[in-house]
Amino acid sequence: MDAVSKSHVFPSPIGESVTRVDALEKVTGEAKFTDDLQFGAGLLYGRVVRSPHPHAIIKRVDVSRALALPGVRAAVTGEDSDDHIGLYLKDRYIFCRDRVRFVGDPVAGVIAVSESIADEACRLVEVEYEVLEPVLDPLQGVQERAPLLHPDLGEYVVADFIDPKPGTNIANHFKVRKGDVEAAWSKCDVIVECDFRVPHVQHVPLETHVAVARVDQTGKIILWSSSQSPFAQRNLIAEALNMSQSDIRVIAPYVGGGFGSKAGVSVEGTAVVMARKVPGHPVKMRLTREEEFYCAFVRQGLIARTKVGAKADGEILAMKTEYYWDAGAYTEYGVNITRASGYSSTGPYRIPNVHADSYCVYTNHPVGGPMRGFGMPEIHWGIEQIMDMVADELGMDKVAFRLKNCLRGGDKNVTGMTMHPIGLAECIEKASKAINWGEKALASAPHKRRGKGLAIMWKAPAMPPNAGSSAWVRFNEDATVSLGIGGQEIGQGSFTVATQMAAATLGVPLDWIQISAPVDTKYSPYEWQTVASRLTWSMGNAIVQAAQDARRQILDIVAAYWDEDPNDLDVKDGQVISFKSENTLPLKDMVVYGLPLPDDQGWHGGPIIGHGNFMPTYITSLDNETGQGQRAVVHYTTGCQAVDLEVDTENGQIHLLRVASAFDVGKAINPDQVRAQMEGGVVQGASTAILESLQLKDGVPQNPSFRDYRIATSVDIPDEIIPIIVEVPQDDGPWGARGVGEHPMVPTAPAIANAVAAALGVRILEMPLTPEKVFLAIQEKLGEA
C-alpha cells in the first residue's frame, strides 16, 4: 500500500462524489427495513414485561393469567435462558432471573397472535418485587457502603483488556500513569481545575429497534434484525445459548439509523428466547418509541474531574483526570467505552505528564452503550472547555494555544504511541479561518451577544485488537459483479464506497457492481461490526484485496490465452487490454465460462471469484498500571469544529450562525458523502448540546417521548455548515482513507459551549445548554455584577 499514499492519481471512481447506490430504492419506498418484511400468516408478536423499579429482587413471576388470555401462545421468563450475554463483559441475562437493575429491564415475555393481545397479556403478568436501594449516581456508586449491583462481577467472563473490581460497582478501571504530574504542577505557571457533567442522551434513530426471530423444529434460529452487527449478534447469542454460530442465521436489512444503538445485542435476544417457545413461527418484537427511550442503549453519563497545568508560553505540562462514568445497569459494552476514554483522556494534545483514572461505575440507570463517538463526545465536552479556560488564564488566543499543543505526526501521545501523520493543525487552521476567527463580529440586536468558539478532537476505532473484515467478489455471465460484504448500510454510505472501491480495483464501470445485500450471516463474508468508523478502512482493505485477487485470476487466464505476460495486461472499463499487443477482450467473454485452449485442447479458467480479508496485526496491549504501550490503536481521525453563534439574552436561546467542520479523513473516497456526514454530525452534535438529556428521577425517565425529548428539526439547524475535507493519507488505508462517521459529532458541544462563553463571559459546565440554563446563567452573572 506504500505506493498509494504517494500517488496523486486515483483510479476512477475513487475521490468522486458518485450518486449513492441505495438512493433510488430509498426515495421510491422500495428499500426494505426489518418491519417492512412480510412473514405471512404464521407471524406472532412478542411483547416484554419490564421492571418498573430501578433496583429490585424478583421474588415471583406468574404468567398464568397471561397464558389464559385467548390469542396468547406462550410466555417466557428468566427461567428460559440461563446464560449471561455481553460483548466485552458478560453481565446480563436476556430475561432477568433474580434481579432487575434498571427501569425497563426485561422480566418476562408474552407471545401472541397480535401485538395488542401480547401487550394486554403482559399487563396480566404478575411480578412480585422486593425493592432495593438504587445507585443513582456514579459518585455514590463508588462509595464503600453503596449497594452492590453485581455481586458476581468476579465470575463474569470478561475480555482480557478490561479490568473489573469485584466486590465493588466498578466494572472497569483504566489507568494512565505517564511521567510525573505531581512534580509537573510546580513547574506550571497556570493551573486550572474544573468538573464537568454530561447527562445521558439517546441515539434516537428514526427507526426503532425491531427483530423477528424464527426457531425451527431442530432448534436452528433465523433472526431478522435492524442491526449494525449481524455477525456479533450471531456470536453473542450463540455463546449465550450454548449453540454453534452455524446454527444461527442473522439477516440484516437496511437500518433506519443506528448511531451505535443497534450494535451488539440489545433487544434481539428477547426475540430469540421468545421464538424458541413457538417453533416454526416467526416472532416479531418491536419497540415503541417510548420503549426506545426507556430500554434501548443510552449514552453513558459522565462526571469528569479535570486539572490542567501549562507554562506561561502556553506549553501544556500536565493533566490529571478522573472520569466517573454513569454506566447504567449493565456495562457489557460500556466497559470498553470507559477504556477508550481513559486512553484518549488528554484529547489530541501533546502532554508529557498524565494521570488519568477512568471508572466505569454500575448504576441503576438505563444501559450505557456505544453512541456515535464512543466516549469521545462525553470527554471532549470537558477537555475542550478546560483548554479554553487555560488559554484564557494565559491570555493566549485559543487557536494559537491549540496549534502550539496539538499532536502532530511523530509526537508521542498519552499512551506512548507515536502518532502517524495527521492533519489536525491543518483542520484547526482551516476551520477557524472559515468563521473569520479573530475578527470581532457584531451581534444583530442590542439584546443579543455574538461569540466564536472552537473545539478539536481525536478518536481511534475502539475495538478488540483482532477485529476483522472480509469480502468476496463474484462475476455474473454479463460481467456484472456481486460484491459480498458483511458491513451494514446504516445511512453512512458504506455500500456506495464499497462499490466504488471494488469498481476502481477491478477496472469495471461503477454500475456493474451490486452489493449482495441484505447482509446475511449464512452467505455474507464475516465483518466484526459496523461501528467505530472502521468500514471504509478495514472492510475497504478487504474489498480491495478481494478485487485484486479476482483481477489477478482474470489477467492470468487472459494472458495465457494471448500467450502474453500478465504484467502487460490491465482491466479497464470492463475490458482486458494488453499494453503490448493492444489486444482487447470483454470480461463477459471469460468471467464465468473461461477461455478455450489453443488447438481445440480444451478449456482454461472458470467462474472468477476473489476473496480478501483484513485484520490489523499490530495492536499491542497497554500496561495495566500505566496505560502505556507501543501501539494502543490502529489510527486516529482528528478534526476541528469552529462555531459562530448568537445568544438571545432575553430568553437564553442560541442561534448557530456558522459551523465549520474540518476533519482529516486521509482520502475521501466519496467527498460528497464525507461532507454529508459532517453536516449530519454537526446537527446531531448541536442537538445534544442544546436540547437533549434523558431526565432521570429516582432512576425513572421523565421524558421518554418526542414530546419531551426534543431533537433538532429543520428549523433548528445552523444557518450555514461549512464542511472541510483535509487529506493526510493513512498508511494502511485504501488509497489512504480512514473513517469519519462518528467524528463530526464529537467536538460540536464543546465548540458551542466555548462560543457561548465567548459571547456571554459565562461558562456552562453541564450539558445541555438549554435556553433556560443559559438564561439563568446570565441572570446569575448579572446578579453577581
Partner: protein, 156 residues
C-alpha cells in the same frame, strides 16, 4: 369491536377493506396492504415518518383512523413516480445526497410534494417550516432543503 367496510384509492388504485375501529391508516397501509414505503416512527404524530397525502393534503397517518378514509384518495411515496419517471423531488434529493439511512425520506418527500403543490416557489424559510414535522437524525436537513429548492426551480 365494530368493523367497517371502506373503499378508497391508494396511489390511484381502488381498494376496499373491512377494518376494525382502532386500526390506523398507517397500519392499514403497512400491515393490511403491505404498502411499506410509509414508515412508523413514533405513533404520536411527532416524527412525520408516516406522512401520506389524504385528499391531496399531508397528514400523519398514525393519527388517522382507517375507517375515516372511506371515500378518500391516499398517496404514499410509492405513488410519487409516474410511469417510471421519478418526481423532480425524488431526483433532486438523490442528486443532493439528501438521503442517508432513508427512513425519514418517504415522509419528507410527501411533505415536500404537498408544499410545492400549494406553494410553487417557497423561500428557504418556508421550506424549513413546512418540514418541521419531519424528523431526520442523519442528514442535518440542509441537503434536503437544497433539493426542495432546486425541484421548485425546475418547476417541480
Amino acid at each position: 369491536m365494530a368493523t367497517h367496510k371502506i373503499s378508497f384509492t391508494v396511489n390511484g388504485i381502488r381498494e376496499t377493506a373491512e377494518v376494525p375501529s382502532n386500526m390506523t391508516l398507517l397500519t392499514l397501509l403497512r400491515e393490511r396492504l403491505a404498502i411499506t414505503g410509509t414508515k412508523r416512527g413514533c405513533d404520536t404524530g411527532e416524527c412525520g415518518a408516516c406522512t401520506v397525502l389524504m385528499n391531496a393534503e399531508p397528514v400523519n397517518s398514525c393519527l388517522v383512523l382507517a375507517v375515516e378514509i372511506d371515500g378518500a384518495d391516499i398517496v404514499t411515496v410509492e405513488g410519487l413516480a409516474q410511469d417510471g419517471q421519478l418526481d423532480p423531488l425524488q431526483e433532486a434529493i438523490i442528486q443532493h445526497t439528501g438521503v442517508q439511512c432513508g427512513f425519514c425520506t418517504p415522509g419528507i418527500l410527501i411533505a415536500a410534494r404537498a408544499l410545492l403543490d400549494r406553494n410553487s416557489k417557497p423561500s428557504r424559510r418556508e421550506i424549513k417550516d413546512a418540514l418541521r414535522g419531519n424528523l431526520c437524525r442523519c442528514t442535518g436537513y440542509t441537503r434536503i432543503i437544497d433539493a426542495i429548492q432546486e425541484a421548485a426551480e425546475v418547476g417541480g
